[in-house]
C-alpha cells in the first residue's frame, strides 16, 4: 500500500509530507490539514493503529461540524480499543480468510471486479504525475489507502504535471479535483458508508464516519473552487 515517487523515494509519501511542509509557505494551512487527514486515513486503511497512534487518536477534540463530531467519535472509539483488538478487527475487515468483508479498491467498487479499467486509468495518471508504487508493494494501486497517499502528495506539491505550456508545475486545485473525481469521488464515500455498517467493524466504524464526513467536505470544497 505504500506509494512513493519514482527513483529513490519509495517511502510513505503522506507521512513525509506532513512534516516536510510544516514550515512551507507554499501550502496554505487548511490545505495542509487536508493532506494530514488524507494521511491519517491512508495510515488507518493500510494497517491497524498501534498503541501510540491509538493514544494520539484518543486525545482528538473535534472542532464542530459533522467532521468534528466524527473526530470525537473516533477519539471515543480509540479510548475503548486496544491495539490487539483493532488489529484482529482489521484482519477480519480487510484481509479475512476466504474473503474479506470490505475491498477498498476503486476497480472493485466501480466495476464489481478487481483490476479492471479504473486501475488502468489510474496507472496512466500515476505515470503522468511521476508516481510509482514503492518497491515490495504488490497490492493494486487503486487501494483507497494508496489513493489517499497520492492525494496528500498532490496537495503537498510532491508531484508535478506538465502544463499546457510544457512546463512542469505542482498540481493545483484543478488538477487535484480531476484526480479526485476520476479516482476517489465516485466511490470512496460509499466505501466509508459501507465500512460503518460492516458487521465486524467497531473501531473502524468510527474511521468510516471520519472518512465519509471528510470526503463530503472535500467534494463541496472542490465545487466551490471550480
Amino acid at each position: 500500500m505504500v506509494v512513493g515517487m519514482e527513483g529513490q523515494r519509495s517511502v510513505v509519501m503522506s507521512a513525509d509530507l506532513a512534516q516536510d511542509n510544516r514550515d512551507s509557505a507554499e501550502v496554505a494551512e487548511e490545505e495542509l490539514l487536508r493532506a494530514q487527514v488524507y494521511g491519517l486515513l491512508a495510515r488507518l486503511l493500510r494497517a491497524p493503529p498501534d498503541d501510540g497512534l491509538l493514544a494520539a487518536l484518543a486525545d482528538l477534540r473535534g472542532d464542530g461540524g459533522g467532521f468534528g463530531d466524527a473526530l470525537n467519535a473516533l477519539a471515543g472509539a480509540a479510548r475503548e480499543s486496544d491495539a490487539a483488538a483493532v488489529a484482529a478487527e482489521f484482519t477480519t475487515l480487510f484481509i479475512g480468510v476466504g474473503g474479506s468483508e470490505r475491498l477498498p479498491y476503486a476497480s472493485y467498487y466501480l466495476t464489481g471486479f478487481m483490476n479492471e479499467k479504473p486501475l488502468a486509468v489510474l496507472r496512466d495518471d500515476m505515470a503522468r504525475l511521476g508516481i510509482a508504487r514503492a518497491d515490495g508493494v504488490t497490492e493494486p494501486e487503486d487501494h483507497l489507502a494508496a489513493l489517499c497517499e497520492m492525494m496528500a502528495g498532490l496537495i503537498g506539491g510532491l508531484f508535478e504535471e506538465t502544463t499546457e505550456t510544457g512546463d512542469a508545475a505542482p498540481v493545483g486545485l484543478d488538477g487535484q479535483k480531476r484526480f479526485y473525481d476520476r479516482h476517489i469521488g465516485a466511490w470512496a464515500g460509499r466505501f466509508f458508508a459501507d465500512l460503518q455498517t460492516s458487521p465486524s467493524a467497531r473501531f473502524y466504524r468510527a474511521v468510516g464516519a471520519v472518512g465519509e464526513q471528510f470526503l463530503a467536505v472535500e467534494g463541496r470544497a472542490f465545487d466551490l473552487a471550480a
Partner: protein, 80 residues
C-alpha cells in the same frame, strides 16, 4: 494564493459579501471542523507510526495474517 489582498485579515473582512473561491473554501473547512490543527497529535502519530513497505504487514504479537518471508517464499514457489 489565498485570495487575500493585504488590506485586512480574513476575520476583519466581510466574508459573506462576495466570497471568492479560495475564501469560501477556507470558510467551509473551518465550519466543517477542519480547522488548522484539528488533528493535533494524531497527525504526528500517523507520521511517527508510518511503517515502511516492509514493516507494515509484520507488526509483531498479532494473530492476524502476516506476510512473513516464509509466506512470500511459498507464494513465489507456487507461482501465484
Amino acid at each position: 494564493m489565498d485570495g487575500m489582498d493585504g488590506s485586512g485579515t480574513m476575520t476583519e473582512r466581510h466574508r459573506a459579501d462576495k466570497p471568492n473561491g479560495a475564501m469560501a473554501r477556507r470558510d467551509l473547512f473551518r465550519v466543517a471542523g477542519l480547522g488548522v490543527g484539528a488533528l493535533g497529535a494524531a497527525a504526528v502519530g500517523a507520521v511517527g507510526a508510518a511503517p515502511t513497505a516492509e514493516a507494515a504487514p509484520t507488526a509483531p504479537a498479532t494473530t492476524g495474517y502476516r506476510e512473513t518471508d516464509h509466506v512470500r517464499t511459498v507464494y513465489a514457489l507456487s507461482r501465484f
